[in-house]
């Protein structure tokens, strides 16, 4: 599932021009992809059904399994997934959906991809560095990245706030409630 995440998002959303004028009417068509970025949903469904298909084909079922075996139910889902992907594609090709642009400015894409990338990237960094850097530093990094993605304009102040926040969580949950959070590089000396 996770394969259909950010990489495919970039390619499918790229060609979209600004979406709608303020009164909700479709703007002058600039590209066929206008209002059709929902085809991404169809792509997600194809990817997921293919994941199920490969899983069913490579599944190792023991001898003597009775009729509705372990492949039966996922098989139904897989077929339904492909059918729904086709229906979704048909829907977006026939009736593009234009989101209402509420901002006074016009943007190339409806979604603010740089904000999403800062946020998702911050989380990825957190996941990858958590066990080496430890909770306090990794969580503070993520906090800083997400705050930046959401438009915070005080990077230096944010650093101290992020460290304060992650330390407070560490104290409350690791020392207070006994959840196991990695101490990482800070752990050695203490």
């Amino acid at each position: 599932m996770s394969t259909s995440g950010p990489s495919s998002a970039g390619t499918a959303e790229q060609p979209i021009e600004n979406s709608t004028s303020a009164d909700g009417q479709p703007p002058v068509r600039t590209s066929w992809w206008d209002g059709r970025s929902g085809l991404l949903l169809s792509l997600v469904m194809v990817a997921f059904s293919t994941y199920l298909l490969v899983g069913i084909l490579t599944m190792d079922v023991g001898e003597g399994a009775d009729f509705p075996g372990p492949k039966f139910f996922p098989g139904i889902l897989m077929v339904a997934g492909y059918v729904l992907a086709a229906l979704l594609a048909l829907h977006y090709v026939r009736t593009p959906e234009y989101p209402t642009e509420t901002s006074s400015r016009k943007y190339r894409t409806f979604t603010d991809w740089s904000a999403v990338l800062w946020t998702a990237g911050g989380f990825l960094l957190f996941a990858l560095t958590l066990e080496t850097l430890g909770w306090i530093i990794a969580a503070a990094l993520m906090f800083w990245f997400v705050a930046k993605g959401f438009g915070s304009r005080r990077p230096i102040f944010d650093v101290s706030l992020a460290l304060l926040m992650s330390s407070a969580v560490y104290l409350a949950f690791s020392i207070g409630l006994g959840l196991s959070l990695p101490s990482g590089i800070l752990g050695g000396g203490f």
Partner: protein, 501 residues
């Protein structure tokens, strides 16, 4: 009056200082999250789920109940003051509620909403106390075919009724059901869709899916627009937060009708309180049109009172259906069911026999939660609105940290964090393109029940499919499902033809 005695015992265990504290914490958290724009009670429950494992089950569920109801109360505050509903069930409240606030009657609107939610929730809780045990007894003789019919009902109703497009709803459902099949198959021991990764032998954790879809996906979704959307304007609420006698008299019938409309929807698995709020709003509007002096469109108190009562009445009976049948009707109820399963408890007929202490303490805590919520919402709704002073970047950064904390604390593995990120991005894409999330959640939670009961039924009948339609209960359920679907199709057609009016 067996129920009453049991309920009194429930009160005695719920009224301990510790449990009272959890009710209060739950109500405060639920209201706070409900008030914050864009956040609904389902997100609050999702984020709290991993953190509550340090508590004993009774305390955890009492807190969840507070959060669940608190979210409903808090949502309406923002719907009225800022015209930003936190979740779909508060949309109907914005129509007349926000007009009342613009008209300078914000305190009265908040009071109408809080009292309406209180009445709806109270009546529903009383009903649950008396009917849930009977419902549990009735469902005690359900076999695989009955459970399969029930699950199928929930699947089809949530995915087709709630969403604008049945295709999108069904697609979300298929993803949810598919996620539920990952892991070792309990019947045959076959390894399914794990591709040899030991982290996936036990399946994808419900907590990971819940936090990803309902919390992290929402954070990404808000990030994608927050620097572009104009900030909402908040109307200050000042003055007497109580209703005059005339206003009470005006609102009372609407509260009653809203409650009556909301109650049955808690048991119908049609996606929670969104539909009843709209129906009750519509009923009030039709009644209003026949009056000499129609008030709708100018801030009619009835147009706010009815949906609020309906929404909380549905929430209340939905908890009853969850406890007695093990059937979640909304995303939040689905998470509550997941929480029960984490503690090794299976809601449904047997729960009332096996853990009566927990059930009755939980039911008693509904009443306590309602009273607490009325107290903290009626006079202080204006204070809650001050929560908006938290700068958005820090609020959402904090929520993201809690997403990571919850999932890492329960799994202790980086693998789950990456899964969380991937699913969170899927959740974001779904939200961006109007794909409903409730069917996915209900698919993940009820998927195993649907699959095992389907295979049990087929195994016992030697592969004869007619087993699904023998017996009165499945037939009645399929009949009801057909009626629900027919009504949906009809109302969609009617709406389409009326759209230009």
């Amino acid at each position: 009056m067996d129920s009453l005695n049991l309920l009194m015992e429930g009160f005695s265990s719920a009224l301990t200082p510790m449990n009272m504290l959890w009710v209060l914490v739950g109500c405060l958290l639920g209201t706070a999250v409900g008030v914050l724009p864009g956040l609904g009670s389902s997100m609050a429950v999702a984020l709290l789920l991993p953190v509550t494992f340090a508590l004993d089950p009774t305390a955890a569920f009492i807190m969840f109940a507070g959060v669940y109801f608190g979210g409903m109360f808090g949502d309406s505050t923002m719907a009225i003051l800022m015209n930003t509903p936190g979740q779909a069930s508060a949309i109907a409240s914005t129509f007349e509620g926000h007009k009342m606030a613009k008209d300078g009657r914000a305190p009265q609107a908040l009071a109408t909403a809080a009292i309406g939610a209180f009445i709806g929730g109270m009546v529903a809780s009383v009903l649950v106390v008396f009917l849930a045990p009977a419902l549990a007894d009735f469902s005690a003789n359900f076999g695989p075919a009955e459970f399969f019919a029930l699950a199928l009902f929930a699947f089809v109703a949530t995915s087709s009724v709630v969403s604008d497009s049945a295709v999108k709803g069904l697609a979300a459902l298929v993803i949810g059901l598919g996620i539920a099949t990952v892991g070792i198959d309990p019947f045959s021991g076959a390894e399914r869709f794990s591709f040899g990764a030991p982290q996936m032998f036990d399946g994808i954790s419900l907590i990971t899916v819940t936090v990803a879809i309902l919390a992290l996906g929402e954070v990404f979704h808000i990030a994608s627009r927050i620097r572009r959307d104009p900030a909402g304007k908040q109307i200050a609420s000042a003055g007497r937060p109580f209703l005059s006698r005339a206003e009470l008299k005006e609102a009372a019938p609407a509260w009653a009708r809203g409650t009556a409309i909301g109650l049955p929807f808690g048991v119908i698995p049609a996606g929670g309180s969104e539909i009843p709020t709209f129906i009750s709003y519509d009923v009030e509007r039709r009644i209003d049109r026949r009056r000499k002096n129609p008030k709708f469109g100018k801030g009619a108190i009835r147009g706010l009172a009815a949906p609020e009562a309906a929404g909380n009445a549905t929430t209340g009976t939905a908890m009853g259906a969850l406890l007695a049948l093990g059937l979640p009707v909304s995303a939040t109820a689905a998470i509550m069911l997941a929480a029960f399963q984490q503690y090794g408890l299976q809601p449904g007929p047997l729960l009332f026999d096996r853990s009566p202490d927990l059930v009755w303490a939980l039911l008693a805590s509904f009443f306590i939660a309602m009273v607490v919520l009325l107290i903290i919402n009626l006079p202080f709704a204006g204070l809650w609105a001050k929560l908006l002073l938290i700068p958005a970047p820090y609020l959402y950064a904090g929520i993201t940290v809690f997403c990571g904390l919850g999932v890492y604390a329960t799994s202790g593995a980086v693998f789950d964090l990456l899964m969380l990120l991937g699913l969170g991005l899927v959740g974001f894409i779904m939200r961006r393109h109007g794909m409903p999330l409730a069917p996915l959640m209900i698919g993940v939670v009820l998927g195993p029940l649907a699959e095992t009961s389907m295979r049990d039924a087929l195994l016992s009948s030697n592969g004869d499919y007619s087993v699904f339609v023998t017996g009165p209960i499945p037939l009645v359920l399929y009949g009801l499902l057909f009626i629900v679907l027919a009504a949906t199709v009809r109302s969609k057609v009617v709406n389409r033809t009326r759209q230009d009016v």
